[in-house]
């Protein structure tokens, strides 16, 4: 039922202007890659701890700014990426150990605390870095142009971003499915009480998950900041994007986050290219349809 208009639109788009259609699709996928990086951490943290970390977008911005400072200082983009991941992971760890550990199970309170934190962090970052727009200086090897069929010229970096995101996805899958800690995390998502009863240090698992989730947001900050730019307000944008992505994909599911990210990212870019006035409506319609027919999200499970 839904497929018919999509197929019709694809055929029309390809026939009408194949270049525009394909480059829009590529842009959509790049954006989806970025959304996936942010949302996968968000969904992991929620799935395990039932904690909606509304400061997740702030971690994105924090990672981006720290990465920028380190990048300027050392001149190395790779170090900037590492610093972005590290700083956000560290901050997430501190959050988990110093704040969330003491309000376990109090959903609303955690939400309110993270809202308060995100307001303060956004303002503190604005204070320190001002309202200017910052841009990274990545190695030349990944920042040129690549010639693709039909689309012709496309920024190499976006392709790199796409590849990196896919690699992170695979790595995350491997970590969750093939390692001991990953096994504990999955067990914790399914039944936290039972995991604790089995003798696992749940607080340790929580801390690891939070650090990884936060670190991914910081990583996305540098990587995404390179593709676009860093500016105040990006935190809210990515916070909302990850919210919508996990609502569509299903809370707590990394694969769901990937599906949701692709749907939202592609829809957003096509909206911008073909109907700029109403682009936001497409995102919203997707969310509405998912909620109407599958309130728990595409891959979500009923709790």
């Amino acid at each position: 039922m839904l497929g018919v208009p999509v197929v019709a639109f694809t055929v029309w788009g390809l026939a009408d202007n194949a270049k525009l259609f394909l480059s829009t699709a590529m842009n959509g996928l790049t954006l989806a890659a970025l959304y996936f990086l942010v949302a996968s951490g968000f969904t992991l943290v929620f799935g395990l701890m039932r904690n909606v970390n509304l400061a997740h977008g702030s971690l994105y911005l924090l990672g981006a700014y720290v990465g920028y400072v380190v990048g300027e200082w050392t001149g190395s983009w790779l170090l900037a990426v590492a610093a972005g991941f590290g700083s956000a992971a560290l901050f997430g760890l501190v959050l988990q150990v110093a704040v969330f550990r003491f309000m376990h199970g109090e959903d609303l309170r955690q939400t309110l605390v993270t809202i308060g934190l995100s307001i303060m962090m956004a303002d503190a970052l604005l204070w320190m870095f001002g309202g200017e727009i910052y841009q990274f200086d990545p190695p030349r090897a990944i920042f040129g142009r690549t010639t693709l069929p039909i689309v012709e010229i496309y920024p190499t970096y976006r392709l790199v971003l796409l590849a990196m995101s896919a690699a992170i996805g695979v790595l995350l899958w491997w970590f969750l499915n093939r390692t001991r800690v990953g096994m504990m995390i999955r067990a914790g998502v399914d039944d936290r009480g039972m995991l604790a009863a089995a003798g696992v240090n749940v607080q340790f698992v929580f801390a690891v998950t939070f650090a990884i989730g936060a670190g991914l947001a910081g990583f996305a900050g540098v990587v995404g900041g390179t593709a676009l730019s860093i500016a105040p307000g990006e935190d809210t944008r990515y916070q909302l994007a990850s919210l919508v992505v996990v609502i569509v994909g299903g809370m707590g599911s990394v694969v769901g986050a990937a599906i949701g990210a692709i749907l939202i990212g592609v829809a957003e870019q096509f909206g911008l290219a073909y109907a700029p006035t109403y682009s936001v409506v497409f995102t919203f319609v997707i969310m509405a349809l998912v909620l109407a027919f599958r309130p728990q999200g595409i891959l979500g499970r009923r709790t």
Partner: protein, 389 residues
């Protein structure tokens, strides 16, 4: 809410219900004989009951607060009357709708400012504004009614949409809806006039009385705030409100008792939508403009801050929160400079959330309990304190 509290609320509601039900209940209690004495008419009984009810429920502090808010504009400067007083009342009214939903319905909706914003936008579209090519210049009374109706319908639709979810999901979905409307208003030029929004929206005059004059507007805001406050206070003790609180505490049980959980929740959204819509009209009159900035993320969150700051367990909470918020907003300049207002309000919010169970009202209640504990030192004092927590 603990089981004991819930039972108390249920009993209070039941008692009120019987009182409302009128003759049937009263005949049993006050007139044991089948034929009531001709000397005591129904009206006198009702008047006596009213007096007793008022005497029981209205204390000195209620009268004091009411007098204070009535006298306030006569002693305050126009700045304090308009910028502080009227703005607090209008914001408090919008936050009241959230308190009603969240504190009593258990549904934290961040889209209440969106509903208020829709009311503001609709008023600007139907009535007169600086954007002459969109505004229809209909009579302001008609515009107000249309705006209220449309905003209430939108609020109900948002509710109908988000009651499919529970708890944190509700926060996220209403946030997503609110931000979607923000982007829509920003990107759409044919109806919402895009980034500019509507400037110089006309505040009407009734006869020769300009509603925009500080004192007039203050009393207008006060009237609607009091109306909202008493309406919510009444509703919470009415069968609907009691059922809503039951649903907040245990939806499955209420469902098993034969209550339509979804219908009650959607109805709560409708009520909250109407309250927020009134607040939205007041806000558009207060600001004289409505733009995407009035429904942006920061304002969605600000309404939540106001409601949480005040406390969600009493309808006076949002107004207390709004006064604190507006005072901070206006005088933060002297403390930290206007630039760092968000840091300050975020910090205050964080402190309140971390150290109080129920905002400023929670601290007030704790203080009262502490003072009472000092006065009634005895074996019961410690128990009272513990039970209150």
């Amino acid at each position: 809410m603990s089981a004991a509290d819930w039972r108390k609320a249920m009993n209070a509601g039941a008692g009120r219900y019987a009182w409302n039900a009128g003759a049937a209940g009263r005949r049993v209690t006050t007139h044991p004989s089948p034929r009531p004495s001709p000397l005591r008419g129904e009206g006198e009984v009702a008047a006596g009951a009213w007096a007793r009810w008022i005497g029981r429920r209205v204390g000195a502090r209620h009268v004091l607060v009411l007098l204070a808010v009535l006298i306030y504009p006569w002693v305050a400067t126009p700045f304090f009357t308009y910028q502080i007083g009227a703005q607090s009342l209008a914001l408090g009214l919008i936050a009241l709708s959230l308190t009603f939903l969240a504190g009593y319905g258990g549904m934290v909706s961040l889209a209440q400012m969106t509903v208020a914003g829709i009311a503001g936008y609709m008023y600007a579209i139907f009535a007169t504004s600086g954007t002459t090519e969109i505004s229809l210049r209909w009579p302001w009374g008609l515009a107000v009614v249309l705006a209220l109706v449309i905003a209430t319908v939108c609020g109900t639709l948002i509710g109908w949409f988000s009651v499919r979810t529970e708890g944190i999901y509700t926060i996220m979905i209403t946030l997503a809806i609110g931000v979607a409307f923000y982007y829509l208003a920003q990107q759409n030029y044919s109806l919402f006039n895009g980034f500019q929004g509507f400037q110089s929206v006309m505040t009407p005059a009734v006869g020769s009385v300009e509603l925009r004059a500080p004192m007039t507007f203050y009393y207008l805001a006060l009237f609607w705030s009091l109306a909202g406050y008493f309406f919510v206070a009444y509703l919470l003790r009415a069968p609907f409100g009691v059922a809503l609180q039951g649903i907040r505490d245990n939806p499955r049980r209420m469902s098993a008792l034969g209550f339509n959980v979804t219908a009650h929740r959607v109805a709560a959204y409708a009520v909250a939508g109407a309250i927020a819509a009134v607040g939205g009209i007041l806000m558009v009159w207060y600001n004289g403009l409505v733009s995407p900035g009035s429904v942006g993320t920061s304002w969605l969150i600000n309404i939540l801050i106001i409601a949480v700051l005040g406390g969600m367990r009493h309808p006076i909470g949002p107004f207390v929160g709004a006064i604190v918020f507006v005072l901070l907003q206006n005088f933060a300049v002297d403390l930290v400079g206007r630039e760092r207002f968000n840091l300050l309000i975020g910090g205050v919010f964080l402190v309140i959330v971390l150290f109080s169970t129920d905002g400023l009202l929670g601290w007030w209640a704790q203080g009262r309990r502490y003072v009472q504990g000092q006065f009634h030192r005895g074996p019961g004092a410690a128990l009272t304190q513990r039970r209150g927590q």
